[in-house]
């Protein structure tokens, strides 16, 4: 049976842990709001971008950009792995890494290389002895600008065009809701066939989408926009991952705080029981002693 003092110290320790987890929960909550606002402000750009790209893809027809062509023989695969820098966010990083492992599994004879956003993914790559082409620390979960995605995207595109990579994939966490974040695997390069505008019923309400005058030609415009599409995707993935990280941490810390409360409850019960047992034992002693004296 734990002594009174032990239990009391344990309660103190758990209370302090609770303070920390509670503070982290609140910090994550406020950061989550910030991240969500950034995501919101990116939406108009992304929507418009997809719209214009779709209508261009529809009309540019036969002329194909090298960014769209599938390689006949895929040997070198590059993976962009987005994780967080810091832990204490539940299964967030594990989920992303499991996704990466599942992707690599069974693909023998292929060369893999990585670009890491976030320390956790980098640590995993190092442990497994993977080739790390690039790493960016302090991006996910922090403040970053479109420029970051732009720089990373440029490197990936030049690597792809130079033949260093035959395919580029990205693994990031999609922010579904505060309670749910799902790891997603998507192909960055070659760019998967673009969704063409005008197929959805929605678009029929917009007859003026039909013909633009393009300057320079629509094919050239498309060539200019395709790399941008990669940057936009990377930027979006980073935003999603950041938001997910904060949401995951918020949930994890909320759980931790709840667990602390439970623990404090059961420890206090144990403490009170121990205290009562000690008092009873003492009383028994006194009563026993008094009885003995009487006799």
């Amino acid at each position: 049976m734990a002594t009174l003092k032990d239990v009391k110290m344990k309660i103190g320790a758990v209370k302090k842990t609770k303070q920390i987890t509670k503070a982290m929960n609140m910090v994550a909550a406020s950061r989550l709001r910030g991240a969500q606002t950034t995501m919101e402000s990116f939406r108009p750009y992304a929507t418009k971008f997809a719209e214009v790209l779709g209508s261009l893809a529809e009309r540019s027809g036969e002329e194909v950009s090298p960014l769209l062509v599938e390689r006949d023989e895929v040997k070198k695969i590059h993976v962009v792995l987005c994780t967080s820098d810091r832990g204490l966010c539940g299964g967030f990083n594990t989920n992303l890494i499991t996704k990466a492992e599942a992707f690599l599994k069974g693909k023998t004879g292929l060369e893999f290389s990585f670009t890491n956003f976030g320390k956790k993914g980098r640590a995993w790559c190092r442990k497994k002895g993977k080739t790390i082409a690039d790493d960016y620390i302090g991006v996910v979960g922090g403040r970053f600008e479109f420029n970051t995605a732009l720089k990373a995207g440029r490197k990936l595109i030049s690597g792809f065009l130079d033949g260093n990579y035959d395919e580029v994939w990205i693994i990031y966490s999609e922010f579904v809701s505060v309670a749910r974040q799902t790891p997603v695997l998507a192909k960055l390069l070659p760019i998967p066939p673009l969704e063409k505008a005008g197929k959805d019923a929605e678009d029929k309400s917009r007859p003026y989408m039909a013909e633009h005058i393009c300057e320079p030609s629509s094919a050239e415009l498309l060539n200019d926009m395709l790399p941008r599409n990669v940057y936009v995707q990377i930027y979006r993935s980073l935003l999603e991952t950041s938001t997910s990280e904060h949401a995951a941490r918020m949930a994890a810390m909320d759980n931790a705080t709840k667990a602390c409360n439970d623990m404090i409850g059961s420890l206090t019960l144990a403490y009170n029981k121990a205290r009562q047992a000690a008092i009873t034992a003492e009383l028994m002693d006194i009563v026993g002693g008094a009885e003995a004296l009487k006799g």
């Binding site: 950034t38 402000s41 990116f42 108009p44 750009y45 992304a46 418009k48 971008f49 214009v52 261009l56 600008e145 479109f146 732009l150 003026y208 989408m209 039909a210 013909e211 633009h212 005058i213 393009c214 300057e215 320079p216 629509s218 415009l221 200019d224 926009m225 936009v232 930027y235």
Partner: protein
């Protein structure tokens, strides 16, 4: 008075302008172009430069844009830029120091790697354009 046209300038981080204007003049890659209400659908890439427009009250305004593209529709002009700043939001000090930095680097990098040279060139151009836009600021 001519009809109004909606001007929207958005960057990945925020919407810079969203208002009804009388005329928009933007720097297309193949030359500057003006848009009035009722323009035929038109799509072009933009170069680094200034988008100028006259707002509903007839005031001339200028926005610095860093590349991107523009779509003109009969009732709306959308500019998608990687970055954009209204004239009054330009940080003069920052632009000036960026200009100096770029000039210094250009002097140094001329013989060295091509990549750094082009980067410094681009930085120089951006800084110069920002300053140019800011210089038309009303006192």
């Amino acid at each position: 008075m001519a009809g109004m046209i909606r001007l929207e300038i958005v960057t990945p981080t925020r919407s810079v302008v969203n208002e009804d204007v009388q005329i928009v003049v933007a720097p297309g890659t193949l030359g500057e172009f003006g848009v009035l209400a009722g323009h035929t659908p038109f799509l072009t890439t933009l170069k680094l430069g200034t988008v100028r427009y006259t707002d509903a009250k007839g005031t001339e305004r200028a926005v610095f844009v860093n590349g991107g593209f523009a779509e003109a529709l009969p009732d709306k002009v959308t500019v998608l830029a990687e970055s954009a700043e209204r004239r009054r939001d330009i940080d003069l000090e920052r632009a000036k120091s960026a200009l100096e930095r770029a000039q210094r680097r250009l002097a140094m990098e001329k013989k060295k790697e091509e990549v750094d040279y082009t980067r410094a060139r681009a930085a120089l151009e951006r800084a110069m354009h920002r300053l140019k836009v800011a210089s038309t600021r009303r006192q």
